[in-house]
Symmetry: C2
Subunit: 145 residues, 2 copies
DNA sequence: CTGTCTGCAAATGGTTTGCACCATA
DNA sequence: TATGGTGCAAACCATTTGCAGACAG
């Protein structure tokens, strides 16, 4: 709630934002840390967390914590929905047309003043559908239907 | 994925399920633990977690981990959506008619075989709308718009 | 009896935080 | 140079797990 704006434009912050915006995927903090580390070998995971939090408070990126243990970060700010693979954990954007479906909702519901929503579809991604053999291991990050 | 069915119908398991089904709210594991403890004073939190996990694997209850740090549990199995208050963290069911909107979605999207979805509306509950004074403290469990 | 389940406590894993030093404005 | 940011490591907190004893079938 503390919308504290930052003053310094540090090398770390710049690179974290840059690398995140470069990705079409939605990495976890640890995943992005590994990527950023290729350019800033001494950066710490704590710094990545601090900056991701700050950038998301400033609405420069989106943080979403749908259903899984780890938060994921998105380099864009337009609201949109996601597809999550139950087997491999991959998270992708719902492509344009399908996303449009979800844009209008009642502003009032059950006494709640609704200001937004979070929507995610779960299923199997194209890759995992082709390789059902991988089903035996415990890679499944969720126990949904 | 390991749909291992349980064999024993223990007092603990029975009471956990019973108390959860009695509630209209969606407690966290710790919350339910406090409730169950009134009937089983020596039960451990670990047992509550173990049974909630088992019951949800057996499709006798629902576990959902939308966006917040703690998972929440629902004593019913019919799929339905939720309303989450950004200020107090309360989670309620979306009432019938509104819920119907969200039931049909494409079965295929972006190569994914979609088997379900998770939808949650965020906003302010009736109570928090009446008491905007509480806004100053850091009780807000989420940083969504 | 026997194999599951429980209570306990320690371990885990993602995230946050305190602190002393560093570097941006 | 002042102060916000960083790296490091320890702390946190929800959840999981190993183990020895308890109990359902």
């Amino acid at each position: 709630m503390e919308n504290k704006n930052f003053q310094r434009n540090t090398r770390q912050r710049r690179i974290i934002l840059e690398e995140l915006q470069k990705l079409k995927s939605h990495p976890t903090a640890a995943g992005l840390y590994e990527i950023v580390r290729r350019r800033l070998s001494k950066i710490s995971l704590g710094t990545v967390y601090r900056n991701l939090e700050l950038l998301s408070q400033m609405r420069m990126i989106q943080k979403f914590e749908f259903s899984a243990g780890e938060a994921r970060y998105d380099g864009t700010i337009e609201p949109h929905d996601h597809l999550r693979c139950l087997q491999c954990g991959r998270v992708e954007d719902v492509p344009g047309s399908a996303a449009a479906i979800s844009r209008e909702w009642p502003e009032e519901c059950n006494g709640f003043c609704v200001v937004g929503h979070r929507l995610e579809f779960v299923g199997l991604c194209a890759q995992c559908r082709r390789h059902p053999a991988d089903c035996n291991d415990d890679a499944s990050p969720n126990a949904y239907p």
